[in-house]
């Protein structure tokens, strides 16, 4: 066996190294003797993850590295693990998102009851990230499934992280039950594929499917697969866990759940459709047509009625997932670029909103939209930044959300789904309505007892700075789109 092929898995291995370093650090430096507080908070994981991100993108940005490094286009273990430039880009995006989530979590982990659980938080989060890495780079259904499970199971522990909160436990129970059920569905789908084609390698399935003799079975496999992955992306009708889990989970975990795991799953969905289900892509398009229509419309209608901000963001996230999956339609390279670009933009805006929700919750304990009445009078800067993020989510120029939505619709239009684009466009108006409800609460509604003015800590500010920079610049500077686009053809 050629052991050097392990080097192609450098991102995963180095992430594992990061996890091990954190694990050891957690053992030996768990508490500060003087204050009794944990000192393994934010700096160490953030620095390590930043270094890891730089390591990941080194072959992408430096020609010097890319000549020697085989990470860009390589296979290991006979094609079970596939590494591509686009996968590296997605991994880097997820990494940046995770860093921002860690910054979000800082205040929450500083609480006295959290001090002895800090290490686990980082390690569990990074393990789910590792699972997503494997999903992204999978070239074989088993590898993919291992990644999926590695991404879901530690997530349950994270959702249940607030030990004394019943809501948190309830959310975790709902999450794990749904996760297991959908894994079961997906495994059944995979077994159908294996039964008809005799292989689980992505590249080898499609030609065997072309025989078309057992197309009903193939379609059944497709449906079951979508059921499994739809749960991860929280598409309607597999979304029922979303609102409760988002509401019950600690805010830092919710923000991770809403962006990172969703993004990875959407990318994988595209890859699998493109590689495995290419022969029955027409049937897949019909399915996705309705899934997208229902995801966007239902989630939008439900979001209008929410008063809890995290629940609200849950429905907003379902609807955004619908837009994200628009890029899957037709499985074109332009669609892939649109997905990855959308993910990047969505991450910046959504994590920005969650940073503000989290810091407000920590400082005032308030989470309802009606609590945010008069927020602008007491905390004008945070209200302004939140408005920018919400505008980006709603797709208002000159913020990045406009560009990502425009390009997403353009890709879907080019693939020929004009009616779908029209429905999605009409839905953007509804989504604008509910995002404006929050803006209205903050700016317009009077409140005798608004959230008191507070100063946010340095980590939150840094995170917000990153997010706002993303919201403002990713759209206007076309480099980001062009950069992602150059990788989309090779896949």
């Amino acid at each position: 066996m050629d052991y050097s092929q392990f080097l192609n898995m450098a991102p995963e291995l180095s992430l594992l190294a990061v996890i091990l370093i954190l694990f050891v650090a957690d053992l030996f430096m768990c508490t500060d003797r003087k204050s009794g507080r944990g000192i393994l908070n934010t700096p160490l994981p953030v620095v390590l993850l930043t270094l890891h991100t730089l390591f990941c993108i080194a072959p992408l940005v430096c020609p010097m590295f890319s000549a020697q490094c085989s990470m860009l286009n390589a296979e290991c273990f006979g094609g079970m693990y596939v590494s591509s430039a686009m996968a590296l880009v997605v991994k880097a995006i997820l990494n940046v998102g995770t860093i921002i989530v860690f910054l979000t979590a800082h205040e929450w982990l500083k609480q006295p009851e959290m001090t002895n659980k800090q290490g686990e938080y980082y390690i569990l989060t990074l393990f789910t990230l590792l699972g997503m890495y494997f999903m992204i780079s999978a070239g074989h259904f088993l590898m993919f499934f291992i990644g999926l499970e590695l991404a879901s199971v530690p997530m349950t522990a994270l959702i249940a992280y607030s030990k004394r909160s019943q809501e948190s436990a309830e959310a975790a129970a709902k999450y794990i039950l749904t996760a297991l059920f959908s894994s079961g569905l997906m495994l059944y789908g995979i077994s159908l594929i294996y039964g008809t084609t005799g292989t689980l390698y992505f590249d080898k399935i499609a030609p065997l499917m072309l025989n078309g003799q057992c197309s009903m079975v193939n379609i059944a496999a497709l449906v079951l697969f979508i059921g499994g992955i739809g749960f991860k992306i929280s598409l309607v009708p597999f979304h029922l866990w979303t609102a409760d889990a988002y509401q019950g989970a600690p805010t830092a975990v919710t923000s991770y759940l809403s962006v990172i795991s969703k993004g990875a799953a959407a990318f994988v969905l595209f890859v699998v459709l493109y590689k495995v289900f290419a022969p029955i892509i027409d049937q897949a398009n019909v399915l996705f047509f309705w899934i997208i229509v229902f995801s966007i419309t239902l989630a939008n209608i439900f979001a209008v009625r929410q008063n809890n901000l995290k629940r609200f963001m849950a429905f907003s996230a379902i609807s955004q997932a619908g837009y994200l999956v628009l890029g899957v339609m037709g499985a074109t390279p332009q669609g892939l670029t649109a997905i990855v670009y959308y993910l990047l933009v969505y991450m910046a805006a959504n994590l920005g909103v969650f940073l503000i929700i989290s810091i407000t919750e920590q400082r005032s304990g308030k989470l309802l939209i009606s609590d945010y009445d008069g927020y602008y009078r007491t905390n004008p800067r945070l209200a302004f930044l939140m408005t920018l993020c919400l505008f980006s989510l709603a797709g208002i120029p000159p913020f990045a959300g406009f560009f990502s939505k425009f390009f997403m619709f353009m890709a879907a239009f080019k693939a020929g789904f004009i009616v779908l684009v029209l429905i999605a466009l009409v839905n953007t108006v509804i989504s604008l309505y509910y995002y404006l409800l929050i803006v209205k609460a903050m700016y317009i509604k009077p409140n005798d007892n608004p959230i008191a003015p507070f100063r946010s800590d340095g980590y939150t500010r840094f995170g917000l700075g990153l997010c706002i920079a993303g919201v403002v610049l990713i759209g206007i500077i076309s480099w980001f789109y062009a950069y992602i686009d150059q990788f989309s053809f090779g896949l």
Binding site: Q334, P380, I396, F409, K414, I418, D485
Partner: protein, 510 residues
């Protein structure tokens, strides 16, 4: 660096300056300097443009510049102006300049107010200079969203309701518009978003096949038409204008509604000529309804802002009406009407705001004899009213005259009957304007509180005089501006007419 980009760059710098400014004086300083620069730039652009045309430069768009922006999608940053855009830029600059002075003493949070105000004006300027559909659409939406906060935070009355209604209706329009833009882009080959390139694709005939044009034309026309107060999508306009703070009403009715007419002409008619010939009768009927219905509605209102808002619906209906008639004269008239309506409606809203700031009521029935108490405002109000009902010597007359003459050039019954019906709106306008002016300004003042009111302050006088000068300028010397406009309108209308006569086969009224 093309100097047209300054129209976007200056507002950007203003935003930065406002962000850094501390205290009311600094904020006002930034706004005055910025808006004066913009006005100066617009005036210089107009003079230079006329000079270039006189010098024999017959290019379709002048001062063109292009930078590739999103290369994989063929999106570019492209700017260029013709006579229509030049006049619109001039209008916008005047309104932004006067709007700054009208909101001089606004409270609270003058700084944030001006931030959103400047963002809005950036959208407007950007829209008029761009010739790339993506850029146009982007600036269009940039101009829409600040309205929500401007009305919601600084407005009066049912401001939350009006702000939400306005934003959602306009965004709904832009949703259709986006689809139309995609359609035009991909059906024209998907190689360019440049309006000129799409129009000149194969020398006259549009690259988009007729059946597809008939889908995209209604989408784009309605998309822009919502902003141009096209019946039955006009309902945001009265509520929005009535609730908005003065300067925002001015900017919105004065400039933003022109985006609708301009967009209809520049994208829907110019890029989809065959469909425009075929389907214009549907929209002609709708705009005809706008014109008459708006004027009638204005008659029964007692709130000053509602009167003016409905009168705006009527006048903006005339803009679209003139464009849809597809003759050079009527379209030139429509552009003139955009200018004239922008100026006079801004003047009207400014005066209403000033009067409201003193009397604290906008109800016509509660005011009497204001002419004796505030003569300057009273006289200006009469002038604005006369411009509104189309008195010769003021801008409204020139514009409406051209529209109706141009419309009557279409020699068939359908167009002529519609023209005659729309002409009625002039009579109705006289009714509501004269009644309003008579009740409010003349007679003997009965309300004791009104007796101690003061006349306009210096910054208010500056704004009002500036607007009146423009209105009278266009009214007395219309030829320079109408030549400027018709030079640019004529080739477009010619190319649209080339593809077919304005006799539509599917029109049941022919």
């Amino acid at each position: 660096m093309n100097f047209l980009s300054l129209f976007v760059l200056i507002p950007l710098l203003m935003l930065l300056g406002l962000w850094l400014a501390k205290g009311v004086k600094a904020v006002r300083g930034v706004m005055v300097v910025g808006s004066s620069l913009l006005l100066g730039l617009a005036v210089w652009l107009t003079i230079d443009f006329i000079a270039q045309r006189a010098g024999g430069n017959t290019a379709e768009m002048l001062y063109q510049a292009s930078f590739t922006w999103f290369e994989p999608l063929n999106i570019s940053y492209r700017v260029g102006v013709d006579g229509i855009s030049v006049s619109m830029l001039l209008l916008s600059a005047v309104i932004v300049f006067t709007g700054t002075f009208v909101s001089w003493k606004l409270s609270p949070n003058l700084k944030d107010y001006f931030l959103w105000f400047t963002l809005l004006s950036m959208g407007v300027f950007g829209f008029f200079i761009s010739i790339d559909m993506f850029m146009m659409f982007m600036f269009y939406e940039i101009a829409l969203i600040p309205m929500y906060l401007l009305i919601g935070v600084w407005g009066t009355g049912h401001k939350e309701y009006s702000a939400m209604k306005l934003t959602l209706m306009l965004m709904g329009g832009s949703a259709f518009l986006m689809l139309g833009i995609f359609g035009i882009f991909y059906d024209a080959g998907g190689n360019t978003m440049n309006i000129l390139d799409i129009a000149n694709h194969t020398g006259g005939a549009s690259p988009i096949e007729f059946g597809r044009q008939c889908i995209w034309f209604p989408l784009t026309f309605v998309g822009f038409g919502v902003l141009g107060a096209l019946f039955p999508f006009h309902t945001w306009s009265p509520d929005g204008h009535a609730s908005a703070p003065t300067a925002v009403s001015m900017l919105h009715a004065g400039v933003l509604m022109k985006l609708g007419g301009y967009g209809c002409f520049r994208i829907a008619i110019f890029l989809l000529p065959e469909a425009a010939n075929e389907l214009n009768w549907i929209f002609l009927i709708l705009t005809g309804i706008s014109v008459v219905y708006g004027a009638m509605s204005a008659c029964v209102q007692t709130d000053l802002k509602y009167i003016n808002a409905y009168s705006s619906v009527s006048h903006c209906g005339l803009v679209l009406f003139g464009i849809l008639m597809l003759t050079t004269t009527s379209t030139t008239g429509a552009v003139l009407q955009m200018l004239s309506h922008g100026l006079m409606t801004a003047l009207f809203f400014a005066l209403i705001g000033m009067i409201y700031g003193r009397t604290h009521t906008r109800d016509v029935t509660l005011m009497k004899g204001l002419m004796q108490i505030m003569p300057f405002l009273g006289v200006s109000f009469v002038l604005a009213g006369l411009a509104n009902l189309g008195l010769p010597g003021l801008s409204g007359f020139v514009a409406e005259m051209s529209i109706f003459v141009g419309s009557f050039q279409n020699a068939d019954t359908f167009h002529r009957v519609l023209t005659i019906m729309s002409t009625c709106s002039i009579v109705v306008a006289a009714v509501y304007i004269l009644r309003m002016v008579g009740r409010m300004l003349y007679g003997k003042c009965t309300d004791e509180h009104h007796l101690h009111l003061t006349d306009a302050t210096w910054e208010e006088r500056l704004a009002v005089i500036c607007l009146i000068a423009c209105i009278a300028g266009i009214g007395c010397f219309p030829s320079w501006i109408s030549n400027l406009i018709s030079d640019s309108v004529a080739p477009i209308i010619e190319s649209v007419k080339q593809v077919g006569p304005i006799v539509s086969s599917c029109n049941p009224f022919m």
